[in-house]
């Protein structure tokens, strides 16, 4: 498993996968679904730093996705800001909000933390829904097309490249953090807060760092999502989206960067594949998720890696 610690491996695997999918894709539809997978994969990679590495749950992260998405929807028409600058503002707002909320909220543990973050997500969702004069209310609003160097960015291929590059950069940063003293401190406080504290880790500060980083990832994904779809509704910040993000992390594998993207692929793309089951589509998705968790309880990627590298250890696998 040691080779897997290299901070370049996960981004490399994802880059190669993106190239392979592009080569194999036979339609724009496939590219568009893959772009969505990359966008949600980016958010899941960020959430995995909080949930998988630091061991702190958040059931409200779609709120940060919503802040990023609505920043690029609202700011350009209201202020004339370029969508990219609007996106940077949105990501910044999400980061500052996470910084402000992080310390008091992350003092909570377990179920209390889950409910508090759920509340945060609902607050953002309600704000986006109720401020209809600005956000279009529950019906959502149109997002101005992104223009770069005087050119409108459109077409499945362009968006595929943009989202794939964003995903790989996100994976590189996450992998670097993971291989750094910061990542080690997060994993330490996950295992034992008391031991981390007495080893000199400022536990409250590091939990907040993980919260802010994951919020920045979610908001960045929200920016891409809004620009890609050309339309936003408050559902992007809704409870269901938050649950989907956590499901991506747990299903793909807690703490695994590639796993987060695999989880995003299953939640985002599998429903498209399962349309062959017609009205049983959601039932099949539920069955796939249950079977994956029961059979591969560390999450898909870590469990498969364990099976491949340590075939004899499977029976001793405690978690």
């Amino acid at each position: 498993m040691r080779a897997l610690r290299s901070p370049f491996l996960a981004p490399l695997v994802l880059a190669l996968a993106a190239v392979a999918v592009y080569a194999l894709a036979d339609s724009n539809f496939v590219l568009r679904v893959a772009s969505l997978v990359f966008i949600f994969g980016l958010a899941a990679i960020g959430l995995n730093i909080l949930v998988g590495d630091a061991g702190q749950v958040s059931l409200g992260h779609a709120g940060f996705l919503g802040i990023g998405a609505y920043a690029v929807a609202v700011l350009p028409p209201q202020t004339g800001l370029h969508p990219l600058l609007a996106g940077i503002v949105g990501v910044g707002v999400a980061g500052v909000l996470a910084l402000a909320v992080g310390r008091p909220v992350l003092r909570l543990k377990g179920h209390a933390l889950a409910v508090a973050t759920l509340g945060l997500g609902i607050l953002i969702f309600m704000a986006l829904t109720n401020e209809a004069w600005l956000t279009g209310g529950p019906d959502g609003m149109r997002v101005e097309r992104l223009t770069l160097f005087g050119e409108r960015i459109r077409g499945a291929t362009n968006w595929y490249v943009i989202t794939a590059v964003a995903l790989v950069i996100g994976a590189l940063i996450a992998a670097s953090l993971k291989a750094s003293p910061t990542g080690r401190a997060l994993r330490a406080l996950h295992d034992s807060e008391i031991a981390a504290l007495t080893a000199g880790v400022d536990v409250a500060r590091y939990k907040t760092i993980a919260f802010v980083i994951s919020a920045v990832y979610a908001a960045s994904a929200g920016v891409l999502l809004a620009l890609f779809e050309g339309f936003v509704t408050p559902d992007v910040a809704g409870f269901l989206t938050s649950i989907e993000l956590v499901t991506m992390v747990v299903l793909g594998g807690m703490g695994s960067i590639v796993g987060a993207v695999v989880g995003a692929a299953i939640i985002t793309a599998l429903p498209q594949v399962l349309t062959v089951f017609q009205e049983y589509e959601h039932m099949m998705l539920g069955l796939v998720m249950m079977a994956a968790m029961i059979g591969l309880r560390r999450g898909i990627v870590p469990s498969l890696l364990l099976l491949l590298t340590l075939p004899g250890r499977r029976g001793r696998d405690k978690r």
Binding site: R2, P7, F8, L172, I173, A175, S176, L177, A179, S180, P181, T182, G183, R184, A185, R187, A188, H190, D191, S192, I194, A195, A196, L197, T198, A199, G200, V201, D202, V203, I209, I213, K318
Partner: protein, 256 residues
């Protein structure tokens, strides 16, 4: 007495729901001295350690580290001032390798600026490599170099006790609190542990340990403090404490 004691505890008390778990306990440890705290189960030894390391706030009294009042200071701040500890009930990072456990102990000497960790620059990778090498050296000191890359949850209890010591030492402490370091160790391991503690003390490290292994306590300690039901019932050189009738009655038994 020009230099202040490395650790000095003055009339510290703590109560839990009306029960005085630690009752007006005082102790002082000179730099480089080995102080043992003994006493029957429930005497308040671990509670005292939790106060000293900042996990509990004492209801009264003061704790000084090299003369500085550190009463009620947060554990991570205390660690930065040079106080490290191990735990009676293991507090190991079970999802990490042995080497990574020790590298967490090195946390205080690393950059705390996450901005510098966002990209895997060669400088960061080089620092990580150096941290790993330093961790291997600490593991060697406690005889665990050969399991450096093993997952902590695959190591036996005695190894985990020593892993905690290596982690505590990696912080480069000036005062080390060891909570039952010899528990789960066999004779040979206990002897090499005593040897390690003796050497560290000679190098100037102040050691305070809670221990049930009387042979180890008697041979290793410069000073022994006996706690019973939260109070100090004896305090002095090992020999004097062993012959103290109150101690024999309370703890060691008549034939000890």
């Amino acid at each position: 007495m020009s230099a202040p004691d490395a650790l000095s505890v003055d009339n510290v008390s703590i109560s839990f729901g009306g029960v005085k778990a630690v009752d007006h306990v005082s102790l002082s440890a000179e730099q480089g001295a080995v102080t043992a705290i003994i006493g029957p189960n429930g005497a308040g030894k671990t509670t005292l350690f939790n106060i000293l390391s900042g996990l509990y706030q004492p209801t009264a009294g003061t704790v000084r580290l090299f003369g500085e009042d550190v009463t009620g200071m947060r554990p991570d701040r205390l660690a930065a001032l040079g106080l490290s500890r191990t735990f009676q009930n293991l507090q190991v990072f079970f999802q990490m390798s042995a080497a990574e456990n020790v590298m967490v102990g090195n946390h205080l000497r690393e950059s705390h600026n996450p901005w510098r960790h966002l990209l895997p620059l060669p400088s960061m990778i080089a620092r990580e490599r150096a941290a790993k090498a330093a961790a291997l050296t600490e593991l060697k000191h406690v005889g665990l170099a050969d399991v450096a890359d093993e997952a902590a949850d695959s190591l036996p209890y005695g190894s985990l006790k020593r892993l905690e010591i290596a982690r505590a030492l990696a912080a480069g402490p000036r005062v080390l609190l060891l909570d039952e370091p010899a528990a789960g160790c066999n004779r040979v391991e206990t002897e090499s542990l005593s040897e390690l503690i003796r050497r560290l003390a000679q190098e100037g490290l102040t050691v305070v340990l809670v221990e049930h292994d009387m042979a180890m306590v008697m041979s290793l300690s410069d000073r022994v403090l006996v706690l019973d039901r939260g109070s100090v019932i004896a305090d002095g050189p090992p020999k004097a404490v062993r012959d103290d009738p109150a101690v024999r009655a309370a703890y060691l038994g008549a034939d000890a």
